[in-house]
């Protein structure tokens, strides 16, 4: 099947436009991070007058970026690990067992994903505050509270994706393990998990990204000590003057790990998404 002339021109125009659209902010982020302060305080220029890494040095002292980064790393890692572990068990049950309440569980779990976050925010805020004052359980403005909240956010989609992945693993493999005398848990750990590595990797990345990027709850549920990057990065703009080169440098630094992780694992991620979504 040959590509027509008109089709080739259209392809060229559309892809160039989209590439420019996507690339522009990314370019500005990188180039502005390399600019000296006076460059970003004046009218915009496409290129830095001099290349400098000063912004990457200064950004740590303008706001306590180190603390924010540490909080985000801890919260996102712990939330991702627990989310995946819990999702693996739930997805295994959904994929391999028929039990009463199974369909109710799967539908309910997925539909919560679609509800407006603002709906949970007000009650959850008051519940956390009241648990702290009445029950002595400190979830409000602590990292623990954020971990629990975020891991629940990524759970529905993780379970859904993993269940789709497990479904695509032939039952024959389970049975072979059963005949060899493996119990359910042994089957899960020795047969299913090794086969589902791509799906598990994709889910881990997804759960980490969810926690790393969440803004709404972080803006209410954190204080100076537990503040994550999502809120902390905005602290630059409340300074007397906005150090845009530092803001861009900080944005770049906090983006690179997740973007690199996602793009490196992109194939698995797409495969995991496809396994869950297309069927």
């Amino acid at each position: 099947m040959r590509e027509g002339r008109g089709e080739r021109i259209a392809r060229w125009i559309v892809l160039t436009f989209l590439a420019a659209f996507v690339l522009t902010p990314l370019y500005v982020m990188v180039s502005s991070a390399l600019k000296p302060l006076q460059d970003v305080q004046d009218y915009f220029t496409w290129f830095p007058s001099t290349l400098t890494f000063q912004a990457f040095v200064d950004m740590w002292s303008t706001v306590p970026l180190g603390n924010y980064l540490l909080n985000s790393v801890i919260v996102a890692s712990v939330a991702a690990v627990f989310s995946v572990v819990i999702a693996v068990f739930a997805a295994f049950a959904i994929s391999r067992y028929r039990f009463r309440g199974r369909s109710v569980f799967s539908v309910a779990v997925l539909s919560t994903q679609m509800f407006p976050g603002i709906l949970f925010l007000l009650p959850l805020f008051l519940i956390y505050v009241n648990l702290g004052t009445a029950g002595g359980v400190d979830l409000y403005q602590t990292r623990l509270g954020l971990v629990i909240t975020y891991l629940t956010f990524s759970l529905p989609f993780s379970i859904w994706m993993l269940a789709g992945y497990f479904d695509s693993i032939p039952r024959g493999l389970d049975e072979a393990a059963q005949v060899d005398g493996a119990g359910s848990m042994r089957t899960l750990f020795t047969v299913i998990l090794p086969t589902a590595v791509p799906g598990i990797v994709a889910v881990t990345v997804y759960a980490f990204m969810t926690a790393w990027g969440e803004v709404l709850f972080a803006s209410i549920m954190t204080d100076q000590d537990s503040r994550t990057l999502a809120v902390g990065l905005q602290a630059y703009s409340t300074q007397f003057q906005v150090y845009w080169n530092q803001v861009m440098a900080a944005s770049l630094v906090v983006s690179v790990p997740v973007v690199a992780g996602f793009l490196a694992l992109q194939r698995y991620f797409v495969a995991g998404l496809t396994a869950g979504a297309v069927k």
Partner: protein, 359 residues
Amino acid sequence: MTAGHPQRRVTPMQSARGSATVPVRRPMHAAPDVRQHRGSAPNAAPRRASTPAQRRRRRLRSKYLPYMLVLPAAFLEIAIHVVPMLVGVWMSLLELTQFHIQDWSTAPFVGFGNYSATLDVNSETGKALLHSFGITVLYTTLSVAISWLFGLSAAVFLQRPFRGRALLRTLFLTPYALPVYAAVITWGFLFQRDTGLVNHVLVDQLGLVDGERPFWLIGENSFWALLVVSVWRTWPFALLCITAGLQNVPTEMYEAAAIDGAGFWRRITSVTLPSLRPINQVLLLVLFLWTFNDFNTPYVLFGGSAPPEADLISIHIYNSSFSTWDFGTGSAMSVALLLFLLLVTAVYLLITNRRRIHA
């Protein structure tokens, strides 16, 4: 290899005995399996090496295993999603203003008072909510439509292999991987009146604007700024899903269409789009719900409070709850929003499923 392992001996025996009713193909359907064996357990007992206590424990374990497996997930979902939702509904029936937040028991029950106050289009709050709702509908419609169109065009044009295709695909996915706040803060910089790229290009380089440099983050333009950022962040997800959907379309179908003389456009409308229908059905719904509930983009772009022209419903509820500490009204708005979304989703699924059956 695991001879002597207590569990080893039981499983083959069970599946052999159960083979009449329980298909060997599905040996792990624990619940019916166990119930079936309970009656015949005494007969089998002497032949087993394990003690009755061990057996009972094992049987209990396999019966309740699926429940134990979903328990952590179910517990978290209930604690973080279901309970707060119910509390939210209850809160919406209380006069939960700043005077009562410390002690809920003192908050007077007002029934549907909060609803009638917020949804009354003649009142000040009702007008503001309706305005915000209208903005959100427009924003969602445009953002979803443009994102879908971008995703579809890119997916179609990336189908054919060419040099740099993998690189382009990676580039296109980057906005999706970028943390929301980093992306939106960067856009905020682009939209700065004096130091931003947008005005530099439009005013200084292209000379498209006469006179004053326009503001992008306040006033009328803020809606369009918000829309651009939203599309930038959303369309890669559409690309991702549509690409996945296109992989399931057999190449023979395109070839057959080409042999029949179908041009590019014809192949899109009669092969690509019909094959994508199941994906599109889910994709459009998900995009709609995400965009309609979008809080992060306006919150970060405008620094906490959106200008009236870009006052999306989520940020409207957020601000009217936390600026006045009137959680009862805020909850009533949230519940009304949820009911609206449920209604739209139900109608959408009803229509699209019916069309799919008739098609």
